[in-house]
C-alpha cells in the first residue's frame, strides 16, 4: 500500500487512527504492529512472512547478543552478530541482487544459471537496514536489547516509514517505543507535515514525473538540447519531491502516533557543494553508512589512502543500495570520486566562490547524476547526457517550445519548492499573525484543506500514480 492512494487515505488511515486513539495505551503498539503488517501484506501477502522473519531474526539475536555480552562471552556475542548480519544481508541479497549477480555471471561464456525471478519485496532495503542498526547497536552497547517483541516488531514494521524511509536507527526511538506522548499539538503538527508531503508527492512529483516519462519515453531518437533539459529537470524535481514527500508523510504520520523521527531531507538542492548535498539528501541513509560502514572501516583516521578506500567502499555500497543494476554502481562511484575531489582541494575553492556559482556547480553535478540514475541501461543514460549537451545537433524544435510553454509554471513551482523560501514565508506570516491566532488558524486550516482537496482530486484522477521506490 502507498500513502498517496485513496485506499490509504480514506480506508486504512481513518480505521487505524480511530482504533489507535480508542484503545488503552498498552495495546497501542500491538495495534500499530497489526496495522503495519496488514499494510505490508496488502500488495504481496506472502511477504508479510518475510517481514515477520526479519523481526524474529533480529529480536532473538538482539536478546542473545545482550545475554552473551552480560555473561562476558564477547567472542560468542561477536559471532552471533556476524551471523545475524549475514542472515539479514543474505535475505536482502537473495531478494534484491540474486538475479543481477546471476545475469552478470552468465556473461561468462559457457555459463547459464537460471534466474531466481522473485519479486522485490517493497522497502526491503529500508527495513533490513533498520533491523541491522538495532542488532549492531546492541552489540556495541549503545542500546539495551528490547525484551518486548511487540515493541520491537513495531519498530521494524512501523508503516509510516516502512517502504520509503527514513531509515530509523533503533537508538533514536528506543524510549518512544515504550513511552510517547500524544497531544493535539503533536497531532496537528503531524497533519500539517503529512499534507505537505502528500502535496509534494501527488501535486508536484507525479505531475513532473508524467512530463519526464513523456520525454524519456520518446523512443530513443535524439532529443534537442532544450527538450533534454526540460526532461532532466522534470526528473530532478520528481525524485526530490517524491522522495522527500514520502519522508514528510512518514514524519507527519509518526507525529500523529506520537513518534519523533529525525529529518531526512534538508533542502538538498540549495547546497553549495556535493559534500553539503549529501549532508542534506536522504540524511538517514548517509548517517547509516557513516555509522555502520565508514567509521568502522577507520573513516578518516587512518591516513589518506585508507580514507580514499573507505569513501569508495561506502559510495559503491550507496550506489548498489539504490538498485541492482550497473547504472547505480556508476552513480555511486561518480559521487564517491567527486566527494574525494572536493575533500582534496575543490571544497576550499568553492568556499571562495560566490554562492550562486557553487550552487550552479552543485546542481549541474547532481542533475547529470540523475541522468545516470534514471536509466537502467548505462548507455541510455550516457546518450541522454550527450543530448543535454548538444549531441543531437538541434537546440530546440517546436515540441521543445510547447513543453516549455505548458510546463514552465510547474518547473517554477518545483524550483521554488526546492528551496526553504516557502517555509520562511510561512513562519514570517505566522509570527506577524501571532497576535491574532484566530486568523492564522483559519488561514492554516483553509490552505491545508484546499491542498488536501486538490490532492484527492489528483488521486481520484489517478491516471498516473507510479511509485518510484519499489526498486530500493
Amino acid at each position: 500500500m502507498v500513502f498517496s492512494s485513496l485506499l490509504f487515505l480514506f480506508y486504512f488511515l481513518p480505521a487505524v487512527i480511530l482504533i489507535y486513539f480508542i484503545i488503552p495505551g498498552k495495546f497501542k503498539n500491538f495495534w500499530l504492529l497489526v496495522a503495519s503488517l496488514f499494510f505490508y501484506a496488502w500488495g504481496e501477502p506472502v511477504y508479510a512472512l518475510l517481514m515477520i522473519a526479519v523481526i524474529l531474526l533480529n529480536y532473538f539475536h538482539g536478546l542473545l547478543i545482550q545475554r552473551l555480552k552480560n555473561s562476558g562471552r564477547l567472542k560468542t556475542a561477536r559471532f552471533a552478530l556476524v551471523l545475524c548480519v549475514a542472515l539479514n544481508l543474505g535475505a536482502l541479497g537473495f531478494f534484491k541482487y540474486a538475479d543481477f549477480i546471476i545475469r552478470n555471471i552468465n556473461h561468462i561464456p559457457g555459463i547459464s544459471i537460471p534466474l531466481v525471478g522473485v519479486a522485490l519485496p517493497i522497502g526491503v532495503s529500508f527495513f533490513t537496514f533498520q533491523a541491522l542498526s538495532y542488532t549492531i547497536d546492541v552489540y556495541r552497547g549503545d542500546v539495551n536489547a528490547q525484551n518486548n517483541l511487540v515493541a520491537f516488531g513495531t519498530f521494524v514494521a512501523l508503516f509510516p516509514q516502512l517502504i520509503a524511509g527514513p531509515i530509523i536507527q533503533y537508538k533514536t526511538i528506543d524510549q518512544q517505543l515504550i513511552h510517547r506522548e500524544h497531544s493535539f499539538d503533536k497531532f496537528g503538527d503531524g497533519v500539517r507535515r503529512f499534507i505537505v508531503g502528500l502535496a509534494k508527492k501527488v501535486l508536484i512529483a507525479n505531475t513532473v514525473g508524467e512530463l519526464w516519462s513523456n520525454i524519456s519515453g520518446a523512443g530513443g531518437s535524439p532529443l534537442p538540447v532544450v527538450t533534454a533539459w526540460i526532461g532532466i529537470l522534470a526528473f530532478t524535481f520528481q525524485i526530490y519531491f517524491d522522495f522527500s514527500g514520502y519522508s514528510d508523510m512518514a514524519i507527519g504520520l509518526g507525529k500523529m502516533f506520537g513518534f519523533e523521527f529525525l529529518e531526512n531531507f534538508d533542502y538538498p538542492y540549495m547546497s553549495k557543494s556535493i559534500t553539503e548535498f549529501w549532508r542534506r539528501w536522504h540524511i538517514s541513509l548517509g548517517t547509516w553508512f557513516r555509522d555502520y560502514v565508514y567509521i568502522p572501516l577507520g573513516g578518516n583516521r587512518k591516513g589518506l589512502p585508507k580514507q580514499i578506500r573507505n569513501i569508495l567502499i561506502v559510495w559503491l555500497l550507496t550506489g548498489i543500495w539504490h538498485g541492482a543494476s550497473w547504472n547505480f554502481v556508476v552513480w555511486g562511484i561518480y559521487f564517491g570520486i567527486l566527494l574525494m575531489v572536493e575533500k582534496l582541494f575543490l571544497l576550499r575553492v568553492l568556499e571562495r566562490l560566490p554562492a550562486a556559482v557553487s550552487r550552479i556547480y552543485t546542481m549541474l553535478i547532481v542533475i547529470i547524476s540523475w541522468a545516470i540514475f534514471a536509466f537502467d541501461k548505462l548507455s541510455d543514460g550516457i546518450s541522454y547526457i550527450g543530448w543535454m549537451f548538444g549531441a543531437s545537433g538541434i537546440l530546440f524544435d517546436s515540441k521543445s517550445i510547447y513543453l516549455l510553454l505548458t510546463n514552465f509554471v510547474l518547473l517554477l513551482i518545483g524550483c521554488i519548492g526546492s528551496t526553504d523560501y516557502p517555509k520562511r514565508l510561512v513562519s514570517k506570516l505566522e509570527s506577524r499573525l501571532g497576535k491574532s491566532p484566530k486568523i492564522s488558524t483559519c488561514g492554516a486550516c483553509a490552505i491545508l484543506f484546499i491542498i488536501a482537496i486538490l490532492c484527492v482530486a489528483y488521486l481520484v484522477d489517478a491516471s498516473y500514480n507510479p511509485f518510484l521506490y519499489f526498486r530500493f
Binding site: I17, L18, P45, N214, Y402, N407, L454, V456, D461, A462
Partner: protein, 381 residues
C-alpha cells in the same frame, strides 16, 4: 496556529469522506467514461493471496469514489490553471475545442499501407477492368483547425502524408486531397469540438468536392433538409478530457427532400430501411447514429437503379459520409478492415463492383495495421 483546530479539520475531512464513501450508493456504469466501474471484489482466499483482491479493491476505491467526475474535473481545471494544455490524451484548444493528442503518422506503416492498397487495386483492376477506384484521405481537425491548437502543440504533419499518397498512388487510382477545400471553409462547423470525427457538414463539403473530382454531379444543399438530431453530444475526446465545463456538440443529419429508399443489411440479422440508428440519439455516442457505429460489413441497396455498385473500404469517418452516396449507387458495400476478416478480392468480384472508394482519416490510414487483409488471400485465391 491552533493545532487542535487543524487536527479536527483533518479528522472531519478524513472521516467525512470515508464514511460518505462507505454509505454512498455504488454505480455500475460510467456513461462519462464509457466503461463498467469496479464493484466490491469477491472476498476469497485465492484472490487475496494472488493479490487480485487488493488490485480490484484499489480500483473499487477510485471508481466508486463519491463525486468522482467532479474530482476529475477539478484536477483538469488545476492542470489548466498552471498552463498545462494537454493531459497526455487530448489537447485543450481554444474555444473549448479538444484535439486527440494520440494522433500519429507512422511512416513505415504508411509505406506498407500504400503498398497493400496499390496491390489490391491493381489486382482488382485486372479482374474488373472497368473499375473506377478513388482514394479519399481526410485530414483531422488538428490539421485544418490548427489555429485552435495550443501554440506549438506537436501534431503529425498530415499534408506530407497525403502528398506521399498522391505521389505514389495517383497512377493506380484517383486520389482526392480535400485539405484545401476544408481549409477554405474552416469557419464552418466542420469538426466536432468534443469528438475526433468530422461533422455531417464537413462530410457533405468533402462529398461534393470528391464527387466533382470523379465526375459525378453532387447533390446541392437544396436537395436536403438539414435536421439537428442532438445538441448535447459529448464525444470521445470529451471522455478523455476529464473536464465537465466544456460545451457539447450538436449533430446534424442531411435528409433527402425527395424519396430515397434504402434497404440496408448490417449483418447479424439487423436489416433496416434507414442508415440511421435513432436509438443512439439518447446515448452518449451520438456519432453511432450514422450506420450504427463501426459494423464489419454493411450491404445497402438503394432505388438509384443505375447499375452502379460501390464498395467503400473505410474507417469511422465514412459513417456520416456514406448516406450521401445513396443517390449515386444502387448498391453500396461498406467494409471496415479493422473488423471484417474476409477475402476482399472475392468480395469485390462477386459483388461485381463498378466503383471502389477508400475513405480514411489521415492518421488512421497512416497507422492502421489491418490493410494487409486486403491482399492477404491473393496467393491462395
Amino acid at each position: 496556529m491552533n493545532k487542535k483546530a487543524v487536527s479536527i479539520c483533518f479528522a472531519i475531512l478524513l472521516f467525512g469522506v470515508s464514511i460518505t464513501n462507505l454509505f454512498a450508493p455504488k454505480r455500475d456504469f460510467s456513461e462519462y467514461e464509457n466503461r463498467y466501474l469496479q464493484q466490491f471484489p469477491d472476498l476469497n482466499a485465492e484472490d487475496i493471496l494472488s493479490g487480485k483482491f487488493s488490485k480490484d479493491f484499489v480500483a473499487f476505491t477510485s471508481d466508486q469514489f463519491i463525486g468522482r467526475n467532479g474530482w476529475i474535473s477539478l484536477k483538469t481545471i488545476s492542470d489548466l490553471a498552471v498552463l498545462k494544455r494537454d493531459n497526455g490524451r487530448v489537447y485543450f484548444g481554444k474555444n473549448g475545442t479538444l484535439f486527440d493528442a494520440g494522433e500519429k503518422i507512422d511512416l513505415e506503416q504508411l509505406e506498407k499501407n500504400m503498398g497493400f492498397l496499390a496491390d489490391y487495386i491493381t489486382l482488382l483492376k485486372s479482374r474488373l477492368p472497368q473499375l473506377n477506384a478513388s482514394i479519399l484521405l481526410v485530414p483531422t481537425s488538428s490539421e485544418i483547425l490548427s489555429e485552435y491548437l495550443p501554440p506549438y502543440a506537436p501534431v503529425p504533419e498530415q499534408q506530407a502524408a497525403i502528398d506521399m499518397v498522391v505521389e505514389k498512388l495517383s497512377k493506380t487510382a484517383s486520389v482526392y486531397d480535400p485539405t484545401k477545400l476544408l481549409k477554405e471553409n474552416k469557419v464552418n462547423y466542420l469538426y466536432y469540438r468534443t469528438d475526433h470525427h468530422w461533422t455531417t457538414d464537413g462530410a457533405y463539403l468533402v462529398y461534393a468536392g470528391w464527387a466533382r473530382e470523379i465526375g459525378l454531379t453532387p447533390l446541392s444543399e437544396q436537395d436536403f433538409t438539414i435536421k439537428k438530431i442532438s445538441s448535447s453530444f459529448y464525444g470521445a475526446l470529451h471522455s478523455k478530457a476529464n473536464l465537465m465545463t466544456i460545451k457539447p456538440d450538436s449533430v446534424n443529419v442531411y435528409c433527402f427532400t425527395d424519396d430515397v429508399q434504402v434497404l440496408a443489411d448490417f449483418g447479424g440479422g439487423d436489416k433496416r430501411d434507414s442508415l440511421y440508428f435513432e436509438e443512439f440519439i439518447q446515448k452518449k455516442d451520438v456519432y453511432s447514429y450514422f450506420l450504427g457505429g463501426n459494423k464489419p460489413l454493411v450491404d445497402i441497396a438503394t432505388n438509384a437503379d443505375n447499375g452502379k455498385t460501390i464498395m467503400v473500404i473505410k474507417d469511422s469517418f465514412a459513417n456520416c459520409f456514406i448516406p450521401f452516396l445513396t443517390k449515386h449507387y444502387q448498391r453500396i458495400i461498406v467494409a471496415d478492415p479493422r473488423h471484417l476478416n474476409t477475402d476482399y478480392l472475392e468480395l469485390a468480384e462477386q459483388s461485381g463492383i463498378t466503383d471502389l472508394l477508400v475513405l480514411y482519416n489521415v492518421p488512421n490510414f497512416s497507422s492502421d495495421k489491418n490493410l494487409s487483409k486486403l491482399t492477404a488471400n491473393k496467393k491462395g485465391g
